[in-house]
Amino acid sequence: MEHAADPVLVVRVIRTGGFAGLRRQWQIEAASEDEARRWWPLVEACPWDTPPGECVPDGFVYEVVANDRSATLAEQQLDGPWRDLVDAVVERGA
């Protein structure tokens, strides 16, 4: 359990691009070990070695950071576990 000693989990979603070119950021911070445990399955489910995809013109670009892991994704890559994680962070971290 690599993270057992560190109960604090920070998941950050930075969305750039889009027609408006506006930068939006959402973040959750799990302060307690209990709280972090609820987020870990969502984080672990994501394929963090996903290479960045080609962006379509005006498509959103997502940068997802969970403690020391990070990935940059084109909007179209945001499905399955990535979508679940990002939606949860956006919902909670608004």
Binding site: I14, F19, G21, C55, V56, P57, G59, V61
Partner: protein, 345 residues
């Protein structure tokens, strides 16, 4: 309907109205057009035979708040208005955009071969965006708090179709300077579509992109300004329009595909300078120079300077090389003086 007073592009717009309230006007416009079949421009000699006169074909789909494309077809060419404002705005916006490319640039649709202009509205839930997916345009309804629906501004529709034209001409790579150039050219087309539809001269135009998209909770008039990049909005929540207008302020970032929506302010300003310096209707000379430079062998990885060279070459044929050259110098793409005189920033 007084023939000759209403410009042909307006007649065509009125003739295309399928709305009971305007049926008399539309009928009159159709008659006027039939009496006067001369088009303002003839197709380029290089246009593919048979393709040059292919009629406008539009399709608008409804994603019904899902993200599956294209969604359900709700309005095709020749069909009357649906009463769904987003559907009808997209449909009319495609018509207005096609009119600019067809009348002024003698281009038949996005691919210059008459492809159907296809779009989807009501994409996703509270979706704050519009994009071009390589085949069609996609418009969200906005979240209702920051953004309203993305079809509300004709410049947005022109911008998205503009991406289609870029893809079928230079194919500018959507990253770094070539990406910012892609964005800028799409903004220029967006602004020109709006100006052409309203028959505005360069000094009458707003030069805004996305006016009317923000809700009234936001302190801002639009998303971008070609006249004054960096001044379109200044809001407590959204911050300030970050666009630079000069190479000295070029933003180096990994985000937004290397700042494609940010650094586009620099070539945007160059176009505005050319258009206002030349005066009159921006689409007539400035627009033609930009369009010809884009579609005459520009590299997919072109830098601002590459594009600037292309525009000056084209501008020689339009007797406007000096004006174009000065504009690129003014935004710092070509240096003439060690420091800029502008004090913005």
């Amino acid at each position: 309907m007084h023939r000759g007073i209403v410009p042909p592009h307006l007649l065509r717009r009125i003739a295309d109205l399928h709305d009971d309230r305007f049926e008399t006007a539309a009928e009159a416009a159709r008659r006027a057009l039939a009496e006067c079949p001369v088009r303002p421009e003839t197709p380029r000699a290089t246009a593919r035979p048979g393709a040059g006169r292919r009629a406008l074909r539009r399709e608008v789909h409804d994603a019904e708040n899902r993200t599956t494309l294209p969604g359900r077809l709700v309005r095709a060419e020749g069909e009357p208005a649906t009463g769904d404002v987003a559907v009808d705005e997209a449909f009319d916006g495609f018509g207005a955009t096609d009119a600019l490319f067809r009348d002024v640039f003698a281009r038949t649709s996005i691919d210059d071969a008459g492809m159907t202009l296809s779009g989807t509205v009501h994409y996703g839930q509270a979706y704050d965006n519009a994009f071009w997916d390589g085949r069609q345009m996609v418009f969200g309804d906005g979240d209702g708090q920051i953004f309203g629906r993305f079809t509300a501004s004709l410049s947005v529709i022109g911008h998205e179709l503009g991406h289609g034209v870029v893809e079928h001409t230079a194919g500018l790579v959507y990253r770094g300077q070539s990406g910012a150039l892609n964005e800028s050219v799409a903004d220029v087309f967006g602004a020109l579509v709006e100006q052409y539809a309203a028959n505005q001269s360069a000094d009458e135009a707003t030069w805004l992109i996305g006016a009317g998209l923000f809700t009234d909770r936001v302190e801002g008039q639009a998303l971008r300004s070609l006249a004054e990049p960096g001044t379109a909005y200044d809001d407590d929540v959204l911050g300030r329009d970050p666009q630079p207008a000069h190479m000295d302020d070029y933003i180096h970032t990994d985000q937004d595909n290397g700042g494609v929506h940010l650094n586009s302010g620099i070539p945007n300003k160059a176009f505005h300078l050319v258009a206002t310096e030349l005066g009159g209707h921006a689409w007539q000379v400035a627009g033609r120079i930009w369009y010809e430079a884009l579609s005459a062998g520009l590299s997919a990885t072109a830098t601002f300077a590459d594009f600037a060279r292309g525009t000056v070459e084209v501008a020689r044929r339009h007797d406007a090389a000096d004006v174009v050259c000065s504009a690129w110098q003014a935004v710092g793409v070509w240096s003439t003086q060690p420091t800029r005189s502008s004090s913005s920033g």
